[in-house]
Amino acid sequence: MSELEFRDAIREALAEELERDPAVLFFGEDVAAPGGVFAVTGGLRERFGPDRVFDTPISELALAGAAFGAAATGLRPVIEVMFGDFMGLAMDSLVNQAAKLWYVSGEQGSAPLVVRSAVGAGGRFGAMHSQSHGTWYQGVPGLKLVVPSSPAEAKGLLKAAIRDDNPVIFLEHKRLYSTKGPEPATETIPLGEAAVARAGADLTIVSISKGVRDALEAAEALAAEGIDAEVLDLRSLRPLDLDAVLASVARTNRILAVEEGPRIGGWATGLLGMVSEAGLHELDDAWILATAETPIPYSPTLEDAFLPSAQAIVASVRGRLGVARR
């Protein structure tokens, strides 16, 4: 079976949806003629024409606003905000316009748009090009927030996001673009459903995006030490598949949430709050591995120490379970 690269999975999903539905269009900064700064979207303009795939000014607010207005009037725009860190500039339109149309209009219509954006640290991009800012949007009813961890998920979830009638923020971790994995087993993957990435009995490690990859690597290392970790891939932060988390915790009685971001105000804190509320009797232990409460540093030594790597996950589990290093 051929292996699929993450960036190709994104491009294939876009191409297939542009092909399938004439209402789909794709625009952003340097996405059309240059093909995107992460080399994800090359060739789409040539294939679908400049009316459907085009470059825009460096105007994130206009980008998001244009996507909202287009979506409210019958199109299904996909936009790219080059780095997730730039999404603060787009926030009013996404939060006050796109997210609210369905509910506030009395369900007259919705804004079926997708915002693709590259997030995550580890590339030495510094504090303003490295954030995983999904949590800025997690508390906004009306938005969906999707965080794929593999090429198969990238393709299946993006196709589902484009077909979804709601505004979807789709966050692609920069460190995943060159990863490879199997083709998706299904045409689309439903939004809001977590997946067990690795079954295990001793504890649940829950994460998103690149954190799932790190958790899987950590789980293999822990297995060699006799600790059988289950890895749960949330896949969406909104809707949040709490049932899947509770089901996993019912099996393992321990949960570690791994977040590439600060603990205060992070998704992991919220998740463990919900798990405590609904499943306290199942819990023997619950904790979080997150980043320091600082902006993301540049220097390789500082950035590496800042991030919750596979090694950090292994060390955290060992420490928490009281397992001595063998």
Binding site: T56, P57, G69, A72, D92, V104, G106, Q108, S110
Partner: protein, 336 residues
Amino acid sequence: MSRRQAEVADGVPGAARARDGEGARAFLPAYARMLLIREFEQAIHRLFLKDEVHGTTHLSAGQEAVPVGVCLALEPTDYLAGTYRGHGHALAKGTEPEGLAAEMLGRATGVCSGRAGSMNVVDLAHGLVGCFGIVGGSIAAATGAALSARTQGRVSVAMFGDGAANQAYFHECLNFAAVLSLPALYVCENNLYGEFTPMGEVTAGGQIAARAGAYGIPFEVIDGNDLWAVHEAAREAVTRARAGEGPTLIECRTYRHFGHSKSDPATYRPDEEVERWLERDPLAIARERLVAEGIPEDQIAALEEETRQQLAAAVEAARAAPFPDPADQHPTEHHG
């Protein structure tokens, strides 16, 4: 491309320009719609004082000629995005007064089922993409709707105030629309005050319209209290947009009869200025012109009476409608 400017200086519009080619009769229903908006705003004002309209509300009395003149140049399927001072935008675009009044009153029969209130009305069936509580939001919504409009032979209108011209929305979207040559119409209702502050204290350059020139967008400053002037400028802009010649900005100089919002008695406006603008009431100007062009007085009076009764009946029907019952609500966060 014409880049004309009316005689406007220091916020005092010049005399209404006479234009040929538009029979007075076509403007009679437009005058009635302006009167409907005025009556609606006065009714909402009364209902607010009776604590039947809640929170806050931003009345557009005095500015009626702008949305009505613009919508007179549109097809019903064209798009329009309005502001939080948006009752007139909705009514001009075709929203039913009863549904709009019910929305203000928080009733289940409101155009948005009572979920939107005064500032955030949406009426997609009438091409109203939304009214936006955030200054400048309408500019983006209309710019995006223009992406749809260009595939449909339609045009898209953004209504916004002078204050919005200092938002990123304004500059980003005008540039965006210009480079994509979108069929968009940017209509600035310049009522000379951004909330409580005179335009001159917070807005550089003395006018909004010339900013469009920096983006290569044709622009014009007109008397926003003259229905004919607004309509003519909008008609030319719509023609250009439908021909694929891109966006236009029209700055309409006008004045609000009420304060910014319900908490604002507008004491910051000089009495002399208020008097001067009240003398240039857009309804009086339109009525005078209809009479001058030969529409019989009694015909106008009959239409006025009919309009007042229509509005009064709509408001009463809205007041009789039930509130949404939380127990009956099955609201969903997401569509589908």
